[in-house]
């Protein structure tokens, strides 16, 4: 058992964040969340519970919604990550506008994760029912709004998205 405490050193990890190629020195078990926040200073991704329950740290990794507090950096090697900072183009994203318009944000801690969960939902299901929205966002907890304005915002964004596309 002499080497049961072998330590793997820091090394370079490469991945794409919001369209930009990044190389960071890190340990393979560092949480993606910490690397985003502390090394890349992308503090839009929040830490709530740190155990996958609250969804505040949700990001898209290779197009799928994940909680970045539960992703060891090694598993994000070469991945394509989208955080809330990558969403707005010249103006706010449709979902961001809808959250503003419907009052879907109060303290703001859950908002980035909510918006990414909603983005993922609308990508998979452009015409969600209210039940689909409730289920799609059920992994994201909000302690302020009571959820109704958030659900309305997603409904509004879905409507706008589909009418824009027509």
């Amino acid at each position: 058992m002499s080497n049961s405490h072998e330590i793997s050193g820091r090394r370079e990890f490469c991945f794409t964040v919001n369209g930009e190629r990044k190389t960071v020195p890190a340990y393979p078990m560092e949480r993606l969340l910490d690397v985003l926040r502390h090394q890349l200073r992308l503090t839009g991704t929040k830490e709530g519970c740190g155990e996958g329950e609250c969804g505040s740290c949700a990001v898209l990794m290779d197009g799928i919604l994940v909680n970045s507090c539960l992703v060891p950096l090694l598993q994000a090697q070469n991945a394509n990550i989208l955080t809330i900072e990558g969403l707005a183009g010249a103006g706010l994203h449709n979902l961001q506008q809808a959250f503003l318009h419907c009052g879907g944000t109060q303290c703001g801690i859950c908002t980035p994760g909510m918006i990414l969960a909603a983005l993922y939902l609308l990508k998979k299901n452009p015409f969600p029912t209210i039940e689909d929205i409730r289920e799609g966002l059920s992994g994201s907890l909000c302690r302020c709004t009571g959820y109704m304005q958030i659900f309305e915002a997603v409904e509004e964004a879905a409507r706008r998205q589909t009418s824009d596309e027509v």
Binding site: V66, N67, Q75, Q77, A117, G136, S138, G139
Partner: protein, 291 residues
Amino acid sequence: MRSNPRDYQLVAPGTLHAVLSLLAEAPGKWLPIAGGTDLMVLYGAGKLAARNLVSIWSLPELRGIEVLPDQVRIGAGCTYAELREHPVIAREFPLLARAASWTGGTANQNRGTIGGNIVNASPAADSLPALLVYEAELILVSVRGERRVPYLGFHTGYKTTQLAGDELLRAVCLARQFSECLHHTRKVGARSAQAIAKVAIAALGGVAGGRVQEVRIALASVAPVPLRLFETERAVKGKSIDKCLLAAARRATVSEIRPIDDIRSTARYRSAVSSNLVEEFLRRLSAGAPI
């Protein structure tokens, strides 16, 4: 206290063969990590004892759902999202598809794997009663080769399994023979999303000529392992479902489960709910399930 990433080693050899060779070099030294939805929670809380981890996330040999004429072979690395969206799983193994849809929220379903649920071996795990009812067979693999074991008996005690230190779970096989049965499942928890079961049932059955022909019942969170209710099944098989049989089934259920008090519920509540869940299933069965 949070874990320090410096104290942990994590490697990703990239192929099944390379992972198995690494495991074989020092059986028990390396702990596989798939979607991390159990292990990273422990890690975040500073409670992950294993220091050497090997990533099996996205290993191609563990992915995919293969549909054969007589069985479905589910790769251990299949996520809940993949399971619930698969048309054959949804149609022929609805207990598993439903369990997948209950396992945490979307992000958890995108990362959590069926293999992780089985090897993590929680008595509260959602997909395991379904596997008991469908009498799943597991394929375990190591450099020594593959072996098939019935899922029933894989858990040898609270959070212990038959998996050897150099083995991985490779796949879960389900026989395609239940399309005629009534499939019934219900999870009783504090909230419908993101909540671990206080008690959950998965069951299937068929009635012919007024009598119970086929019946299989399993419960989560009522014993150190997910539990198949063989005694209860024996008590109802071949009988017609009436008040007397329901009472006998309730008694059999209560006598064969071993619930405990814990943070989520009490033994007393679990006993009452277990017998209610069994009765509810039998009532549905008698109300006219196809054979």
